[in-house]
Symmetry: C2
Subunit: 409 residues, 2 copies
């Protein structure tokens, strides 16, 4: 692994103050799975009555822990639950051995916390193809259990990091009928980030009480507006996992898919998704690509991702070059419907191109000045319909090459 | 444009000696379209009776010259023909002005060479979105006409370059029924290279006599085995054009889609396609990705391109890191069918992974030693069927970032 020496220039000022979530406890311990001298095993305990929803990578070569989570997530239970995460080893493409290692870890957690094995979810993130040294994880479970605390969410955010340059957290509180509901989440991810989904682990908790079907529907809908619309390098991980747990401890029932709770959850998920992009490997620019006027929302998303994934667009952004011709190229190659003569392109508020050509008002020096901002908006209107989509990405820099040409060597 | 100071380390030893093609003459002149002091306008004249076939970018934002070529390519004619190419300006996304500029250039060539305008094909390559200074091109036509020569193909190969670090040519001669047929082609392209097709201009000529429908079918079939299977950066140009002209001067008729002529043409096209990859922006490694055992050829190509386009695979290659886990990742994300437990991965002759896991025989130091070669083969067998595909790509290096973060600035 390349040494990460500096925090991303796009990082938030610091880790946020997050609300404690009744019924959720966290700990992280140093187990030496791969890294030495840093916390690499994270344990999360959820109280009885917690409902759980999850979304996972669609990779055909997804890891053993992902397959295990997928098998368990739909099983309702009145029991408590636990999540165990290790960094340093993805336990992916490890054959039958990988499934066995996952079973050993989850059954050990079940025994340690007196839970049914079907309620223990695991994630592994790191190198692919090396056997998971599960005994290093199970040896630390008692220590991890002893350290469990409702206030240790930041430890958990630290413990799940791999190439991340900063721990990622986001939270919200909403009042419903005079009662307070809290949401807090953590995430990891910085490379191998692309829709459906990313090398991303995300764990979000709330003390609201929500039945599993509604929780799952809400999570799926909001994932399509957040984590499924970010991309760093178009590469999709074998390990992506997003778990959402609702403990019910607040006593407030959520029974509808819209309203202030959904909006607050959306905000937390968007914040975490943006933090993943802000920690994109080598990133120096945070870029929003907003496409409107497409024939369909799906077409808009295809265009937006084609722009956001284009190496030539991303290197132009890195070079602070207002090279809108590359945006035209990316629209042209996407495969979705476009008409050159109806296309409008904006950098922020600057009208760059319209009617199939550069705008007569556009001045190159305005574009060049705009590109020097660390946060950029590329706006495209196709002039064809009402389809729209917004995705987020970062630039492609020498830092990305340095990190990834050396990883594992 | 970034200054290109060094020839690609993967370049051939030199420009090949190419056979002269009866009925084809070349010239290149310095017109100052964008670059100063280098040949940037190339003229090619084809004799009466020449049949022409073409394949073009599928970009929805393709350039005015491409649209013009597409409108003309199917028109049979007994007249001669001409090709006019400028570098430095793509005449793409230049609105109605772009179509007008193309018309002005092609009609000037038609008048200069006494040809119908419908038999003059043009290509433009370079920056997108700037008006084509067509008057600089038309001012040089008489000079270009005076310089036309059957032996000047290398001048043409030089004249069509943009970021290319070396001129690209390939040729072949075959004997059919005791008579000799000659093929010679030139190409340009190094970035914005991806299937269907690339920032690529390719012109190939033969003195065989072939009816247009057969010529077009043969070109389309062979393009799918060559230029449509190379990728540098997954970005698709607005300008890709491949024209194939058959003058008939040899007096040898080709009437079947198989046989020695087809094989020789395939060889010339593959050679040129490989040269484009070898000149991939910043490339230090030439990589063949061969996928076998897929359910279908189409699935095999999807997997092969997913590997060849993955930034994480390409940076691993740049770092000489035998990171086969990233190959697994790229297979998993491709969307085509794969079964982890039937997958076999090879680096050259080295068996790396099989049966869903690293091979027990594999030693990391063997993989690391192999990756130090400048030419690499990544072999994947899916163990599912008989579908297969081979694609070619290069690594992703600091050089790519340097070239593309500065282009146009």
């Amino acid at each position: 692994m390349a040494e990460i020496t500096a925090v991303s220039p796009l990082a938030p000022a610091g880790f946020p103050v997050l609300p404690e979530i009744g019924g959720v406890e966290f700990s992280a311990v140093a187990a030496g799975v791969k890294y030495q001298g840093r916390k690499d095993v994270t344990l999360i305990r959820l109280c009885k009555g917690t409902t759980l929803a999850g979304v996972f990578t669609r990779s055909a070569t997804r890891s053993a822990p992902v397959r295990d989570c997928q098998a368990k997530i739909g099983l309702d239970s009145a029991a408590g639950a636990a999540i165990i995460v290790n960094s340093g080893n993805a336990n992916a493409f490890t054959g039958r051995n990988g499934e066995e290692a996952t079973r050993i870890v989850t059954s050990a957690v079940a025994a340690c916390l007196d839970l049914p094995e079907s309620r223990v979810f695991s994630s592994s993130t790191g190198v692919i193809g090396e056997p998971l040294p599960h005994e290093r994880i199970t040896a630390k479970l008692k220590e991890a259990r002893a350290a469990l605390s409702p206030s240790a969410i930041r430890d958990a955010a630290e413990g799940i990091r791999t190439t991340d340059t900063f721990p990622k957290g986001a939270g919200a509180e909403v009042e419903i009928d005079g009662k307070r509901i809290r949401i807090a989440g953590i995430a990891k991810g910085s490379g191998m980030i692309a829709p459906d989904m990313a090398t991303m682990l995300v764990y979000i908790f709330t003390d609201a009480r929500i039945a599993r079907p509604l929780l799952q529907d809400m999570l799926a809908e909001l994932t399509n507006l957040t984590f499924n619309n970010i991309t760093v390098d178009s590469d999709t991980s074998t390990s992506d996992t997003l778990l959402l747990g609702a403990t019910g401890v607040s006593g407030v029932d959520i029974t509808t898919p819209t309203g202030p709770f959904r909006d607050a959850l959306h905000g937390v998920m968007l914040d975490l998704a943006h933090q993943v992009v802000r920690d994109g490997e080598g990133a120096t620019k945070f870029v929003e690509v907003a496409v409107t006027g497409a024939e369909t929302d799906s077409d808009a998303r295809t265009h937006a991702l084609s722009i956001a994934n284009s190496p030539l667009v991303k290197t132009a952004v890195a070079g602070e070059d207002p090279n809108w011709g590359r945006v035209v190229m990316a629209i042209g190659k996407s495969g979705a419907t476009a008409d050159r003569d109806r296309l409008t392109i904006r950098f922020g508020d600057i009208l760059v191109a319209e009617n199939g050509w550069v705008s007569p008002e556009y001045r190159e020096e305005d574009g060049a000045a705009y590109m020097r901002n660390p946060e950029l908006e590329i706006g495209v209107d196709l002039g064809l319909g009402s389809g729209e989509a917004t995705v987020w990405t970062c630039d492609l820099t020498h830092g990305y090459i340095s990190i990834n040409a050396d990883y594992r060597s």
